[in-house]
């Protein structure tokens, strides 16, 4: 069963992979409140898409979930699911089967 902790682990692992590509003094904070996309985010658009792609891949490889985080469902929400780690986690838990 997919849980909040499992999803957090997957998202933070994607952020760790991104931090490995960044300068040591320019690391992304590991927090539920970390902005992923928007004016407050430290990620540029390439890095943001990289995070979404890595999370999708981990959901598939680790949990067998073949879900897209970038489709009409994301569009239909009044609040962007990409705003922060927490909103992305909530979105995943909402759309993942068995959550």
């Amino acid at each position: 069963m997919i849980t909040r902790d499992v999803v957090d682990t997957i998202i933070f692992r994607a952020l760790e992979a991104l931090n490995a590509e960044r300068d040591p003094d320019d690391q992304i904070e590991m927090s539920p409140a970390t902005p992923l996309f928007g004016v407050d985010a430290a990620l540029d658009s390439l890095e943001f898409v990289s995070i979404i792609t890595d999370v999708e891949a981990s959901l598939n490889l680790d949990l067998g979930l073949d879900i897209s985080l970038a489709d009409d469902r994301a569009l239909a929400r009044p609040q962007s699911p990409y705003a922060t780690v927490e909103t992305l986690r909530q979105y995943i838990l909402e759309i993942a089967p068995g959550s």
């Binding site: 996309f37 897209s68 962007s80 699911p81």
Partner: protein, 199 residues
């Protein structure tokens, strides 16, 4: 030819853009692109000499501020294919929180598949440019191979990752993902504007 989106416009690259685009090409973000001109005069000459098989654009915000560049090269109407190239966001601070890169690429793909009615886009990316490879794959490109030591950049050889996408993959995979990223970003923008009391 100008291509208009919600956030950006792609307008033709002109000789008046030589100084700005040279500065972008010489910036840190362009270290894994091919080296080009080394002076404004060389850059201007390069812009003037672009062949008819290329369309070169400046990415500009709706305010008119130029923030990057993007090209479509090797346009081949016989084999119905073309190569997106020279993609560079030169002013990242000005595009923060905006889906500029995604929308710029979407506008280029609309040109390729809807206006020029081509069948395929393709290209190569320096293998070490992992974020760009991942970004292109996330937006529908598929890895088709690897060219060993294909580029000589900054004093050494680099492999190239070959990427390609057919029209049907664009319509079924790339376009929905690009629309989602752009649309969700718009939702984020609305939230910011509401919190600032502007809408």
């Amino acid at each position: 030819m100008e291509l208009h989106g919600a956030y950006v416009t792609l307008r033709p690259l002109g000789v008046e853009d030589a100084e700005l685009t040279l500065a972008w090409r010489q910036g840190d973000r362009a270290t894994l692109l091919n080296r080009g001109a080394t002076s404004v005069a060389e850059q201007a000459a390069w812009i003037v000499s672009r062949p008819a098989t290329e369309l070169n654009f400046v990415i500009q915000l709706q305010s008119g501020q130029p923030v990057g560049m993007l090209s479509l090269v090797n346009i081949d109407e016989i084999h119905r294919r073309a190569e997106p190239a020279r993609f560079l966001i030169g002013d990242p601070d000005s595009v923060k929180g905006l889906p500029v890169a995604v929308e710029a690429m979407k506008l280029l793909y609309e040109l390729v598949f809807d206006q020029l009615e081509l069948h395929r886009v393709y290209g190569t990316v320096v293998a070490e440019n992992r974020l760009m490879v991942k970004w292109q794959k996330s937006l529908g490109m598929k890895e088709e191979g690897r060219l060993r030591q294909h580029y000589f950049i900054a004093g050494r050889f680099h492999d190239a990752v070959c990427l390609g996408m057919m029209e049907d993959e664009y319509r079924t995979i790339a376009l929905p993902r690009m629309n989602a990223f752009i649309g969700a970003a718009a939702a984020g923008t609305r939230i910011v504007r509401r919190s600032q009391g502007t809408s």
